[in-house]
């Protein structure tokens, strides 16, 4: 066996892949060979480290140096200076880790300091395509313990005691769900994993599957043992090719090691696992639609009850849990329910992974203890808002959730607090908005999404959401009336109450929560015919400041529709009836004389 003296971990998640990590890994291998280092230094492609904004990223161990925004041209320097001579390439270090003349550990920088990585524990640490590395980090120990030391009831009790709730959005207690399925008598039962992840902006589940696929496999086998199932399915969207590939490799390796299959750990427990690809319809993340889709039918929901724990996949008792929910299970078995219960708030235990996006400096993936405030996430972990802009609101829960305004930034993030303020945890998308975002426009964006994604089976959702979108569009075009706002609110409640599944029942939330906190913005659109954020085109106006205009005529020449006229060397004017609000004049003006109102 060769001894390896250094490990170069390159993030191979989807984010870094799109910023070019493949080329860097290849260059790294070429350069190592050129310096005769290929036996001493190992290059490992991992899952997501979380700091996607800084990608491609690379960590070199044993020093633990964190290089960010690495380009292929930089690799030669890293190899020749750092890996050969031991001189760290300072200019490429993540600047937060540099302190006087020493390097701070990654755990001490603001982005990671307040995080607690349980579900993401192995992401960016192990090679997801190597089962041995997962095992070296205590992988499959929990499954071994369950099968050889605990009864199925013990396992369920432990999960119940931990207080773990579903991370897919609803927050249903996981142990209880397992208990119901265990109590259903049937010779065939199923364990399913929801990796559909349809929320726009969310990528937590993808990252877990890309970075630590065995954690999900191990947890599903534990679930199978607990409820008495011998077959599992992971339902994952085909738009996640890297995750699908790594999960398949992991399943194959687990089968080869006999960690899936017959007689696992010499017991009489059998468990098999298969992948089912989804075509990326949002409704297929809903549990009954998901199971219908696995059965090979059109993915449409059906009424509940009967609940899946009684009649699920192929009418057999079934449990469905989210990827992140599963990723917590082995940790709970290994470290105990009390350990898990010591994190988080009274009714929301443990941690939650969020995909931070929008107007924030550190976009990426973060895992925080439940109860962390939105302010801590945005200002400390997220590094604040770019360009000195002001925080306006954060959107959680995607198209089913709502907005949290600035005055509620100190709300602890947990299931119940978020519901209380009209949003929801959702699966973990967290989109930050600044003063340049129009809240009516945001609501309209999410409604467009649900109108597109409504499966059409029930009328309130199919037609109701469309009517709601029409009202919103009318308002953003400056044609709305005050009655429209009231009508919209009423329609929201009817859709919520009468829709068949969660999609329709939650679709009005983005409208209701923006109405609740930003009603004045809706009213400005209706009464004053202005969009305060200057987003809604029909309501914004480009104007020329006659004080600043030098009459150079550049804007008039740039205007694609000939809406600007004037005499050279005296102020120009924009004909509002012709203007299409493209903004070409404003970006071209050298004197800053054009503004938007």
């Amino acid at each position: 066996m060769d001894m390896v003296r250094a490990h170069v971990l390159c993030c191979g998640g989807t984010g870094c892949t799109s910023s070019g990590c493949e080329a860097i890994i290849k260059e790294m291998e070429t350069q190592l060979a050129a310096n005769g280092l290929e036996k001493e230094i190992k290059v490992i492609k991992t899952g997501c480290f979380g700091l996607c904004a800084l990608g491609p990223v690379m960590i070199v161990y044993p020093e633990g140096c964190f290089y960010s925004r690495v380009q292929a041209e930089d690799v030669k320097e890293i190899v020749e200076e750092h890996l050969l001579k031991g001189r760290i390439v300072k200019r490429l270090l993540y600047k937060e880790t540099i302190e006087e003349d020493k390097i701070k550990s990654l755990n001490e920088v603001d982005f990671y300091k307040k995080q607690k990585r349980i579900a993401l524990r192995n992401c960016g640490v192990i090679d997801p395509e190597n089962i041995d590395e997962y095992i070296a980090f205590d992988g499959y120990k929990a499954l071994g313990k369950c099968l050889t030391e605990l009864s199925p009831t013990d396992v369920i009790e432990e999960i119940k005691k931990s207080g773990l709730r579903g991370r897919g959005g609803g927050g249903f207690p996981t142990g209880l769900k397992w208990q119901f399925a265990a109590a259903s008598q049937n010779e065939k039962k199923y364990v399913c994993c929801n990796a559909d992840e349809g929320d726009p902006g969310a990528f937590m589940d993808r990252s877990i599957l890309e970075g630590d696929p065995h954690a999900v496999i191990e947890a599903m086998a534990i679930a199978g043992y607990a409820i008495g199932a011998d077959q599992g399915y992971v339902y994952i969207r085909a738009e996640y090719p890297i995750a699908v590939k790594r999960l398949q490799i992991a399943i194959d390796q687990a089968k080869e090691y006999g960690l899936l299959g017959k007689g696992i750990f010499g017991t009489d427990f059998n468990f098999d696992l298969e992948i089912r690809l989804g075509a990326g319809a949002f409704v297929c993340g809903e549990e009954t639609a998901l199971m219908t889709s696995i059965e090979g039918k059109r993915g449409e929901p059906r009424p509940r009850p009967p609940f899946p724990a009684v009649k699920g996949l192929w009418e057999k008792p079934t449990i469905l849990n989210n990827v992140e929910t599963y990723a917590n299970i082995p940790q709970i078995i290994n470290n105990g329910a009390d350990w898990f219960g010591s994190m988080g708030t009274e009714k929301s235990k443990g941690t939650k992974v969020f995909a931070l996006g929008g107007k924030i400096n550190n976009t990426g993936l973060v895992e925080i203890p439940m109860g962390t405030t939105l302010r801590e996430i945005v200002e400390e972990i997220g590094g604040g808002i770019p360009n000195g802009k002001k925080f306006k609101a954060a959107q959680t829960g995607g198209p089913s959730g709502g907005c949290i305004p600035a005055h509620l930034m100190d709300t602890p993030i947990d299931y119940d607090s978020l519901i209380a303020i009209g949003s929801m945890m959702g699966s973990g998308g967290l989109i930050v908005m600044d003063e340049d975002n129009c809240m009516v426009d945001i609501a309209k964006f999410f409604l467009e999404f649900t109108v597109d994604e409504s499966c059409g089976k029930c009328t309130p959702c199919r037609i109701g959401t469309r009517r709601l979108l029409e009202l919103l569009t009318k308002i953003t075009e400056g044609k709305g009336t005050m009655e429209d706002i009231d009508k919209m609110e009423e329609l929201c409640y009817s859709i919520k109450e009468s829709s068949l599944c969660g999609l329709g029942q939650t679709a009005p939330n983005p409208v209701l929560s923006t109405l609740r906190y930003f009603r004045d913005e809706y009213e400005a659109h209706v009464r004053d015919k202005v969009c305060p954020a200057g987003v809604c085109k029909a309501l914004s106006k480009y104007m020329i400041d006659p004080e600043k205009c030098k009459g150079c005529s550049l804007c008039a020449r740039q205007c694609p529709v000939g809406a600007i006229s004037g005499e050279v060397r005296s102020p120009f004017v924009i004909a509002q009836d012709k203007c299409i609000k493209c903004g070409a004049c404003m970006s071209g003006c050298k004197f800053g004389a054009i503004y938007k109102k």
Binding site: M1, M3, A6, P62, K85, A136, Y140, T148, I264
Partner: protein
């Protein structure tokens, strides 16, 4: 996988490879001077010898890293051995042969090879 022992075996076998990535990896560090002066004096084969020797003995929890010039260029190649809770030992004018002996006596048997240390050279 028929037993927990089998799992444990894979774990132990792989642990050696990943120990440097663990937060609490409290191991012995072999630090080789790899500045220009070190390389010119032959530090590269010395480092390779350490890596090979450690691999041969399948020693876990030992890491090999490099450092820059510490100012005693005439004594290069210089190697420091840093073990937890022990004082750092600095070896000078190292060769691949000396490296093998340091691994055997110092790292394995915890006996400092006094004659190669900086104290003996001065």
């Amino acid at each position: 996988m028929k037993s927990l022992a089998e799992l444990q075996e894979i774990r132990n076998r792989t642990l050696n490879n990943i120990i440097m990535r663990k937060e609490d990896g409290q191991g012995v560090r072999v630090v080789v001077g790899m500045a220009t002066c070190g390389i010119a004096a032959g530090a590269r084969p010395v480092m390779s010898a350490f890596v090979e020797e450690l691999a041969k003995r399948n020693l876990s929890n030992v890491t090999v890293t490099q450092m820059g010039c510490i100012g005693a260029c005439r004594l290069e190649p210089i190697v420091e051995i840093i073990a937890p809770n022990e004082e750092k030992v600095t070896y000078v004018k190292m060769t691949p042969e000396k490296a093998a002996r340091v691994v055997a006596e110092h790292i394995v048997n915890k006996q400092v090879v006094t004659e190669y240390t900086i104290g003996a050279a001065e």
